[in-house]
Symmetry: C2
Subunit: 285 residues, 2 copies
Amino acid sequence: MVRDLASHPGICSINTATLGFQAPIGEVIEAVATAGFGMLAPWRRDTKDQNVALVAKHIRDAGLKLSGYCRSPYIPAATQQEYRANINANKQAIDDAAVLGAPVFVMVVGSLPPGSKDIEGARHQVREACAELLDHGRRQGVKIGLEPLHPVYAADRSCLTLLSEALDWCDRIEGASADPQIGTIIDCYHVWWDPNLARDVARAGQARRIFGFHVCDWLVPTIDVLNDRGMMGDGIIDIPSIRAALEGAGYTGPVEVEIFSAANWWKRPMSETLLTCKRQLSRAT
Amino acid sequence: MVRDLASHPGICSINTATLGFQAPIGEVIEAVATAGFGMLAPWRRDTKDQNVALVAKHIRDAGLKLSGYCRSPYIPAATQQEYRANINANKQAIDDAAVLGAPVFVMVVGSLPPGSKDIEGARHQVREACAELLDHGRRQGVKIGLEPLHPVYAADRSCLTLLSEALDWCDRIEGASADPQIGTIIDCYHVWWDPNLARDVARAGQARRIFGFHVCDWLVPTIDVLNDRGMMGDGIIDIPSIRAALEGAGYTGPVEVEIFSAANWWKRPMSETLLTCKRQLSRAT
């Protein structure tokens, strides 16, 4: 039996991207808390030019916890200098995650630098960087969450695409661990199509490397693969089956709604989107 | 060492979709032959309402061979009646492939029927159908080529996405064979991102199940994932490395150019597109 989300608001999280960044983070925090969610996941752009400690206090005062902090600056670079700068930007973001109280720093790793066709080279850079960021995260008490992205983003956003690949990287970077500090963020939008999904979710659970679960839906047709994601239930992903697989594999963490929807949900009032998220978490997740 | 394509026009093929279906098949045949290609791969829409035997004769008279015949009507269906109709439409297309003299029938298998979220069910339907089509193809002397499509098409065009998955299906449907009649069509647009590509190409070669190789390029940015594919060399796919992997695995078949490009190549004269294909087969493939 999967957890009943209607009676567990404490594990229901709103990724702030779902609300389209139409309001300052303070208003978003209030809206999410008012709507009865127990968690949120802010982005770096939410905290840009803000006092991160004050944002953290605001979140705590609203009675909310963080499900994660989004997301890493891309890693791969054409020069060693840019590569080091990217790693340093990630360390800074991990520091902010620690101040915010985020248990996990969500990494969208990047892919081919301009002019490159060497995706294996990009993967190598990311793994090297992650080893360093894992150490940094350990010192800060922040875990590293590798999010494999749908292969449609393989050229420009993530050279990491398969869940199995993310787990292989975790094994290479950290080795087996009873208390893993690097793991995976499983977003059903990115992995629903994978014929090996059941196998790999079981493996991830066994290794205790499921650090987050994101939900939205794949619309048919999809007008824009980046910003035309759907509300749970409006598309073709069998989200309840994927959640059941995760929970069957031992996952007890948050269920986080992350919907990029430039033409639809981002144009609606935050309260309406939040109400719909809440309803569809119960009915279609 | 890979084959020098400039000195082997006989293995260089033009998929007629590359030319945007802007002229009747007769004109396309003449243009492809005149441009110095040794092969072409027509689509069902090229032969619709045509006398297929006459088209076959025209192709032969032009000195061309076929690298394949595109492509299967989709298999999965919501009702048994539609499913049977889809299988029968595929048998008819295989009959036409035999008349045309195509060595392989290219299958893009389809995916979720309207209203369905059951991708495993769709996969099951496809495998069952392929077993039947394999028998039909054997009788007609036409091999079955399963083309795994990029996962961006998993909802509506192909529940078959990974090369490893295609090879698993071949093994299940036919078993090991010294002279396989079902195999895979490897299109670099669909598989370039796969972290297991080298492993799976080697496996496909070992099993003698590489029945075709399609080339085009992945543009950054991609405006439309269906019809904004690029000329070889204009994108980020390391096509020469993929071709080297196939040839290293024993592939000796055609190199087929298939570019869906509504806003660019389809708007140019056929002769210009063909000239560019020829040049880029030598320089960037």
